[in-house]
Amino acid sequence: MNVNASLIVKLIAVAAIACVPISGESFYVELVAKMLLMAIFAMSLDLLVGFTGLVSFGHAAYFGIAAYSVALFTAKFGQMSLWVMLPAAILLSAAAALVIGIFVIRTKGIYFIMVTLAFAQMAYFVFHDTPLGGGSDGVYVDARPTAAIGSWVPFDLDNELHMFYFVLVMMLLVYLFLHRVLQSPFGRVLMGIKSNEHRMQSLGYFTFGYKLAAFTLAGALGGVAGFLYAVLFGFVTPELLSWHESGNVLLMVILGGMGNLAGAVLGAFAFEAMREFFADITKYWQLLMGGVIVALVLFLPGGLTAIPGRIKRALQGGGAK
């Protein structure tokens, strides 16, 4: 797909998503809002998996830490200001990623996968088993953060529509931010590391610092998604940090097509849509879901975003005969 066609498709998709609240169905508004925040989560992981070549299997930790921070801060200090709570949640996730990153970045391949998983499990048990987290039942967010600045209230997150568009705007901001970062000299170094880290070192790059920066940035953006989750649903549970969630977001990235921001968004939408669809038909939905994912990975290794290219090639191949 050329640049213009791709841009037009993306704009149409955004316009279509922006029209969802017209349906008036609260169920769909909330579902699409969830898809949007999962898209942020998937894009943040794609920065690691698809662009830097770091396959993290513990990315749910940063999602969960930000989500829990909303619940715990609100429980302790009462209703929070959005303008304090959002940066605080992001900073906490980023700090966790920075500290964990210092340890995990030293490992490679399968070890990296296992160590990121181990740290995420530690974070899971902190919220599951210590007095801090409130156990397996989770914690309610007593009040959504307020967007008020002084007496001026630009929008209200208790309003379903405001909440929806807030999540949509955040998703677009994260997309544009990452899009820009990936075009920067920093982004090119990450891609170089994914392609051939050893070569980057022999070219004089100290790759540890770059990988740690990417890991921290991914954690921070994962925190944005976790924050939005807590605010949207009003409660958090330790399951948000579990390895199932780390696996799900990895599947979203793979489903959409690694190394492609739009792919991560598409993967998140497709994954959540399938989850809803299959859960509707049967309680064995996970079996169906697993089957579909196996089939997609087998027959569409480039993910959903590889489809236009395939169709194009098929058409050209047909035309040549």
Binding site: R180, V181, Q183, S184, P185, F186, G187, R188, V189, M191, G192, S195, N196, H198, R199, Q201, S202, L203, G204, Y205, F206, T207, G209, Y210, A213
Partner: protein
Amino acid sequence: MSQTSKNEVLLEARKLTRRFGGLVANQDIDVTLERGMIHVLLGPNGAGKSTCINMLSGDLPPSEGEIRYLGKDITRLSAAQRSQEGIGRSYQRTNIFPQFTVLENVRLAAQSRRQQPWRIFSKAMEQQWALEKARACIEEAGLGRRVDWLSGVLSHGEQRQLEIAMVLATDAQVLLLDEPLAGMGSEESASMVAVLKRLPQTRGILLVEHDMDAVFAVADRITVMVNGQLLECGPPAQIKASVAVQQAYLGTEDSFHV
């Protein structure tokens, strides 16, 4: 450049030794590389040439010995640190970023000299100084016609030239080239030899190579290694005339990889 006097010693290795368990891959190797020279490391397979070049580049720590660059002890520096000092290398197996264009490969190499990782909102493709340097290095490596090609689709010979361009873009004063002619046809070899001959003026080149014609065409000095040990070092005429070299290397069945 301030120091471009010929015969200045750029790289000096003394008594380099590398052991892998009980195997001594390199024993007491001395190498001296001067500016303006092409110094060829010659030897049969398994002689320890790659081990030697890996120790010089920082990819492999030596078990014993000392390496100096412009008089400074660099024995314990990492590969990335040595690259920043001015030692660049290419690999035996082609080592490029195939999904990038030729220009982007070399631009990325140039960018390593002025890293500003915090500038995440600037655009890589608008880094004029890096692009200019990249274009000049691509030209110097003889790839001017391929600037905007995807590097993955270049011929094998062109990819090797691209590697040279990438090393040049890091401002390397010392070029460690591991078999730059390996796997090339005669035409590709000829153009690579032409590129190599142009390079040394302000730099020093240490080259591992098997192709005898090419070796004697480009070498100012040759070091012959056998079984991890230094056999003889001198100008090409001396090496050609050496009885020891003939016996140990040229006379064996493992001679002349042409």
